[in-house]
Each structure stands twice: as C-alpha cells, then as structure tokens.
Amino acid sequence: MATEHIVVNCNINGESQTFLANERDSLLEALRDRIGLTGAKEGCNNGNCGACCVNMDGRIVNSCLVMAAECEGSEIRTVEGLAMGDQLTPLQNAFLEQAALQCGICTPGFLVAAEALLEENPDPSEHEIRYWLAGNLCRCTGYDKIVKAVQQAAGQSIV
C-alpha cells in the first residue's frame, strides 16, 4: 500500500524541528526513528507502561499513543531536554543519589512524569506520588527508591 509522508513542524526540547513523518508513525516512532531522540523508550506500544512518556504542550502523554502528524505546532519535551546543559535537574540528581534505577529503561518515562508531578504539586504525599506514577511500570526496583527520589527532589526528608 502506498505510504503518505507528512511534514511536521514542532518544537522539541526548545528547538524548532521540521521532520518528515510516515503517516503511520506514532510520536514515539518519529522521535526515535526520524529525529534520532532515543531517550523515550518503547515498552508496550499501547499505553500500558509509560516508558515512552513525554511532555506535550504541558501535559504528559504516552508518545506511543500520539500520532506524529498530531504534533504540528506542539511543544514537546523529552528526557533529553530535562538537564540544562551540564546541569542535571534536582530530580535527575535525586534518581542517582537514591539509586532509583537498576536497568534504567523505565527511567526516562519516570523522570518526565515525575517532573510534571512536581510542577503541578511541589510537595506531594507518598500516596500522591504513587498514584501519579501508577502509569509507569518499573520491573526492577519495586518503586521504593523511585518514590524516595521524588520525595528528595521535592525537598522532603527521606526516611
């Protein structure tokens, strides 16, 4: 079957980008295969793991469920856009200090999701953190250290 290609203009991590998407590309596929940003990961490709989580126009989305063509004019932030140059965010540092990753495949999604939580709710309770992050699966950590990293980034004392 013939494939249409679509020109998409958007802003990714503060840079305006124009790319050619296959009409069947999801945003995740466009980011990874067309633009070369492989930080967002594919864990399930149907919205159930959060590994592909990116921020789109201020909202976190599973990029595997967004069509690339829908991104015309959008502002997108991926894990690659969190650190300011060589300055990690407090959350990224907290992930390192709390050992909140083992294999690290879920980490980009958790970071993007948790940054959005902290923007909306700078002092979340443990339950609020767990609730917000319930769309992100981690198979390695049992979540303890991820929750603690978010608490640390929120300036809370960690037990």
Partner: protein
C-alpha cells in the same frame, strides 16, 4: 560535560573504605539523561527493519510456506524461514542456563516442520522500514494442519495425550530412555533417609496439592537484535542480552560460523531476570543481513514478548510433610511437575534442589518432572524453579506450624539448616546465614508489632537460592593520572559496573570514582558467563580483586625498579601507598598510587592488570520475608499493607543496590503471588498478551518494602560476597499465602491468588 559527583557518605562497615558505601553508579548520568544506548536505540548506515511472522496456532504442522508475494513487495529486501538455516547438528550447546540440543534451539528460533505454541516464529522479513516489514508479513502464505494442543502439565503426562515431539523419550532415573515417545522429557529424584519411616514418626502429616500458572519476567524492554553480516564473512551483532558470549556461542553453531567470525556487542539492557539469556532474534537478523547485504534490526513488540519469550514454568506440585508435636520435621515428600514449554528444559531441577534446602529434614524424597506443553519454551526467571517449589514446601510448613500451634519462625529455627548440614541433592553447607535471617526477622520491628483490624493477616516465609560462580574476566590499565579504566564482559543490568568497580577500588585502595568500568564486546575481554544466577558481583568482583592484585604486584615491581631495590622489599599497602626500603640516607621511600601511576610511562611503560576466573564455588543466599495483607472479602482483592525483607548478602558491596534487588525481587514475587498469570483458552490462545491484562505491580499496588540486610560474609570470596539478586523473589508467594490464611482462614492452593481465585476459594469454602 555533565557530571554528578558521588557524595561522600558514611561507611556502613568499618572494615572497608569503598565496600559498603553508596557511590553514584558510573553509568548513572547517561541513564538519567536518555543518552544510554539500549538495544533498540542503535542505528547503522543502510540499516533495514525487520519483523517476524508468528504462528496463530498452538500446535500445527506446517504444510507449506509461500513467501513470494512478500518478497515482491516494494521495500522488502529479504525473507527467511527455517529452510534458509544450515541443518543444525544434533549436539548440546551451552545456553547460559544449562545446555540444549542445537536442533531445538534452532526450531525455537524459527519453526521447522511444526509450530508448537501460539507466537512461534515462522518467517522473518527485512524491509526499508518497519511499516513495510509489517505489511509484508500479511503477504506470507502459510498453510497449517492444525493439531490438538496440550496445555496443562498433568494432561501432557498422560499416556495417549497429543505428542509435541515424536522423537522425545523420557530420560528415566537410571539414565535410560522410555520405550514410548512422551511429553515427559525427564524424571529426576533426590532422596535422603527413609520417608515412610519418617512419616511414621510424625504426629501430624499434611499433604497439599498446588497449581501455579506460567508467569513472565516482565522486563520493560522488549527483545531486540541487530546484525550486520559483512562481505568478509564476519558477523557483528548488537543486542540486549544477559550474556554476549552465550549469544556468540549460540549464533555461531546455528549459522555454522566460527566463534571468531562472530562479534557480539552487548547494548545497555532494559531488564532480563533470566529471560534475556536465550537467543530469539539474533540468528534471524543475521540471516536477513546475509541475504540483504545490509545491517538489519529486529525488535519485538510486547505481544510477541509475552507470546514467544520467557516465561517461567506453570506447575503442578504435591507436598507431604510430617512433624512431631514439638515441631521437629521428620519427613517430606515433594512431587514437582514443571511445564518446560515447547522444548525440554524447565527449571525443575533447580526447584527440586532448593525446595527443602532451608531445613535439615532427615527423611526426604523429591521427584521432578520436566514436561513439554504447547506453550512458549520457558526461560530462566530469577531463581529459576525455586519460587514455585518453595511456594509449595513453605506453604505446607506454615500449615504444620499452624496446626501444631508453633510460631512459624520458631518452627523454622528448630529445623533450620546450618553449617555442616547437607541437602538431599548432596549440597553441603558451609557458613550460611539461614538462622541469622530468621532471627533478624524475629527481632524486626515488623514482627514485633501488633496487626489489628478485620480481614488482615500476617505471614512469613523463608527462601533459599544456591547462587553460582563460573567464568568472569576483568582487564584494567593504570593511566598516568591514577585513574583506572576497567574492562568487563558482564552486562550491567542493575548496578554491577559499580559493584565490580568498587571491589577493584577497594583492593587498590583508591576511590571508586577513579575506576571507570566499561562493558565491552566479545572480542575485547575474556570469556564471561551471563549476568544471572546471582553470579556477577560474586565472580566479577573476584576477577576485579585478582586484577587489582595483579596491578599491585606490577606496581611493586616497578617501584623496585625505580628505587633499584629488590621487589620483595617493596609492599603495596591497603592505603594505596607503595613503600620501599629506606634510601642510603635513611629516608623512607614511598609512592602514592597517583605518583607511581604518573611515572609508569617513563619508567618502563604502562601497566595492565588482568584476571580470568572460573569459580565453581558459591555462597548460598537465604531470605526471610514478613508480610501483612488485607483481603477484601467482597472482591477477593488482596492489599499489601506492610512488607519486610530480610536477606543475607554476605557482604553488601553497594548497599543501595542490594536493597534495590531485595525490593525489586519482592515486587516480582508479589506479582506472581497475586496477579500475574498466563491465561490460555482451550485452543492454546494466550488471552492476556498485553501489559494491561498481564497485570504487573504498579507503584500504587505496593507499600515501601523495608529491607534488612544481614551480613554473614561468604568465606569463599575475597570480600565475602554471596550474590543477592535471586533469592528475594522466593518468599513473597508463600508469605502472602500465609497472610491470607491468617486474615480469612482460607489456605489457597494456586498461584496467582487473584481476586477470582480467592473468591472461588471463599465461595467454595462457604458451601
């Protein structure tokens, strides 16, 4: 450059400078910035994308495959089927989790005459992009003759049930093969004492039957494999694997290449838990690359991962155990029937060896059966076989304690294996932390606390895993500024760059930040076994220790050369100061590590330390877990209220990653206990092949998991390491079962103990 400095943190043991601290892992910054390159992240010039066509049937004969229409589709570069592979030799190869017949390895990679499970690979396509490759799959015509599937281990063992393999005969206890073809690949047995005499001595005997469902490792990263078959006949493979050498040594014989023609580069890996030891995509990508002359990347989607990789065995188990009224266990009879999936090789042997190991029971008989069924070939999953087997034995032990009115930890302590005891499998115990874990659990705030409220209960269980050693390699050079790049062959799946580098740093007396660990390809380091078996920090750390000792010796020699004295008069101290005899004027002579490093280039050349170890010993691991649950009697849903995991780590090299292994193991164990199951219909169709329906624990399903690290150093390791990854998945299921029984008085007999199962049990109970 992005940098993250390790915070100096207080040491948790006085004995060591580096071991027991919590430095930031060396690969950490890459992994929080999205820079780390996992298997699917690779792009090569001219690379094609591939997809795999999979069987829609659980059991069928392949009558014909016609790939011509797919090959004709614009953008398709190559299509392969089993017929494109060289005929596999009838030989056993090392698969990293035991051995397997090469023919079966090939048939599992891509079906030959029959498909044996839904999702079994039938053909593979390489195209200019994955959308086209997917379209091409629809154009491949496969004619099947559908056969009756056999889906349950007990059905499969019955004479006259449909056979998966006409050539499979049961390997009996005496080593002979059964006359008739069978789905039972082998029967194994371990015995000790006289069980019937033991049961005669018992005041109470309990017998229970259990069924457990297949469960998947559930790593978040799907399988991938990229290959480039060069014109000179050499093959490059990039993949997410737990063992690059195992991939090399599986792919080379499948393609009839020399291992020297195959180079495997392990990419960062997004979890494995045993499931990323076997090869699935790599041989297909290789052949597609050979046919197309281009690099080919294959990736699985989640449905394929669930249908066609992993999982761990479903089982039928029966345990009979007897004890005297004082709590002494007199006899145990364990029957384990494990589903291997489509080809022989379930972990029933390991399950059998572990099943009663925590206890010194004088009379034991343990039977294990390895049985093929029309489901995916099982792969290792964290302490393979032990979570099922110990679920059965620990559960019956808990019921014995309950019936006899003993505290379950007291009863375990009364029967606990200690140094000098030998298991039924003939494994003698050296210094172990079995009792220490039980005692630490008894003393824990959790065990000491009261649990109140309706439908709430507490349970406890023990776990045992033997851990393994085997081959690891480490090379390290000393740079002029005193930093040390360390080259390793072990895939870093959860912080082992750090745990191995820390042992090198400890031995050299330098900071762990001055060691720069790198995981390299199979041509760039000595043979290294898989990251699995809880062996990597143990054997990799041992290699690092010996590598560092090699550097120390060479640096002593170099200092002696510079000082023009005898090398035997020079000592490399644990403080990383190299001291020699006083000079002619009586002044002390010494070099710091950095000073001497700075002089290497001009005093005779650089120094490389190296070590290749092969350790057949290991340090067994024990764990004791305590859990509080609340059961919703209306829905059957079980909530975990509180969880404490006690474990003997031997020595905790990086305690944060030890805790992480414990917590992650608990989460997987709780998933296995409560939710995770392979749900097949009668035709062998897996009905829950998505992460929505294959329900793994989320952050909201779990409380904080309190880790208590016990350290009974393993005398068989330079730093007392035992290995920590596997044992924590074992106790959760029996502990949760005991807690449910304590909460609502129902003793479950299946895994998972899902809301459906609990309602079934409670409704049946009421009738």
């Amino acid at each position: 450059m992005v940098t993250a400095q390790s915070q100096p943190q207080s040491r948790e043991t006085e004995q060591y400078n580096v071991i027991g601290t919590r430095p930031i892992r060396h690969d950490g910054v890459d992994k929080v910035t999205g820079a780390a390159q996992y298997g699917a992240d690779i792009t090569l010039p001219g690379m094609l994308a591939g997809r795999v066509l999979r069987s829609p049937h659980a059991h069928a004969r392949i009558v014909s495959i016609d790939t011509s229409k797919a090959e004709a589709l614009a953008g398709v570069h190559a299509v392969v089927t089993n017929a494109d592979f060289p005929r596999a030799a009838d030989e056993e190869i090392d698969t990293g989790e035991g051995s397997a017949n090469l023919r079966w390895v090939l048939d599992n990679v891509i079906a030959s005459d029959k498909v044996l499970y839904k999702g079994h690979a039938v053909a593979a396509v390489a195209a200019s992009d994955h959308h086209i490759a997917e379209d091409a799959l629809d154009l491949i015509e496969v004619e099947y003759e559908v056969l009756a599937p056999v889906l349950d281990v007990r059905d499969a063992m019955v004479d006259g049930s449909p056979l998966l393999h006409d050539s499979l005969h049961t390997r009996e206890l005496d080593g002979s093969n059964s006359d008739n073809a069978s789905n039972t690949a082998s029967h194994l047995q371990f015995t000790k004492g006289d069980t019937e005499a033991g049961f005669a001595e018992a005041d109470v005997v309990i017998e229970r039957e259990f069924e457990t469902s297949m469960a998947h490792q559930g790593y978040i990263e799907p399988h991938n494999g990229t290959a480039y078959w060069r014109a000179d006949g050499t093959l490059d493979i990039w993949t997410s694997t737990q063992g690059a050498f195992v991939v090399r040594d599986s792919v080379a014989p499948l393609l009839q290449l020399s291992p020297s023609q195959v180079k495997v580069t392990p990419m960062e890996i997004g979890g494995g838990f045993g499931g990323k030891i076997p090869v699935y995509l790599e041989p297909l990508a290789a052949l597609l690359s050979q046919k197309s002359g281009r690099p080919v990347k294959l990736t699985m989607n989640r449905e394929e991962v669930l249908l066609a990789t992993g999982p761990t065995s479903g089982t039928y188990m029966r345990v009979r155990m007897g004890a005297k009224s004082d709590g002494t266990i007199t006899a145990a009879d364990v029957h384990l029937a494990f589903e291997a999936g489509a080809y022989p090789g379930s972990p029933v042997g390991a399950g059998a060896m572990c099943s009663l190991a925590p206890y010194d029971i004088p009379n034991q008989k343990i039977d294990g059966y390895d049985v093929v069924v029309n489901k995916p070939k099982t792969a290792a999953y964290r302490a393979p076989g032990a979570p099922q087997a110990e679920f059965a034995t620990e559960s019956v032990l808990n019921e014995l304690a309950e019936q006899l009115g003993h505290d379950p930890l007291d009863m375990r302590l009364k029967n606990a294996s200690v140094e000098g005891d030998t298991t039924a499998a003939g494994m003698p115990f050296g210094v172990i932390g079995n009792v220490e874990c039980m005692t630490a659990a008894q003393e824990s705030p959790h065990w000491q606390s009261e649990l109140e409220g309706p439908n709430r209960g507490r349970g406890v269980a023990q776990g045992f895993w033997f851990n393994i050693g085997f081959e690891s390699s480490a090379y390290a050079q000393v740079n002029g500024d005193g930093t040390v790049p360390l080259v390793l062959g072990s895939t870093d799946i959860g912080g082992t760059r750090a745990s191995i580098a820390m042992q090198l740093a400890e031995t050299l007396g330098i900071s762990s930040d001055d060691v720069h660990p790198h995981v390299v390809d199979t041509n760039s380091v000595g043979y290294t076994q898989v990251t699995g078996g809880s062996r990597t920090t143990f054997a990799g750390g041992w290699a690092a220790y010996e590598c560092a000792m090699d550097i120390r010796r060479q640096m002593e020699e170099r200092a002696a050369q510079i000082w023009e004295c005898d090398a035997s008069d020079v000592t490399y101290g644990d403080d990383a100061v190299v001291r020699g005899p006083a000079d002619e004027d009586g002044n002390d002579r010494q070099f710091s590590f950095k000073e001497l490093a700075g002089q290497l280039a001009t005093s005779g050349g650089h120094i490389v330390g190296r070590a290749d170890v092969n350790k057949t010993s290991s340090g067994p691991a024990f764990a004791t877990h305590i859990v509080d649950v609340e059961v919703d009697p209306d829905t059957g849903k079980v909530d975990i209220l509180r969880y404490t995991a006690v474990q003997d780590a031997g020595t905790a090299i990086h305690p944060a990653y030890v805790e992480g292994q414990m917590q992650g193991g608990v989460a997987q164990g709780v998933g296995m206990a409560l939710n995770e199951e392979y749900f097949y219909d009668d035709s062998g169709d897996l009905k829950n092949a998505s992460l929505l329906d294959y329900r793994m624990p989320t952050a909201l399903d779990l409380p904080m998991i309190e880790p208590i690290i016990v350290e009974v150093p393993n005398p068989g390791h330079p730093y007392g390491v035992r290995g920590v990854g596997e044992v924590p998945i074992i106790p959760p299921a029996p502990a949760v079962r005991a807690a449910i029984a304590n909460a609502i008085g129902v003793h479950m007999t299946e895994l998972p103990m899902s809301p459906r199962a609990i309602l079934n049990a409670t409704v049946l109970d009421d009738e």
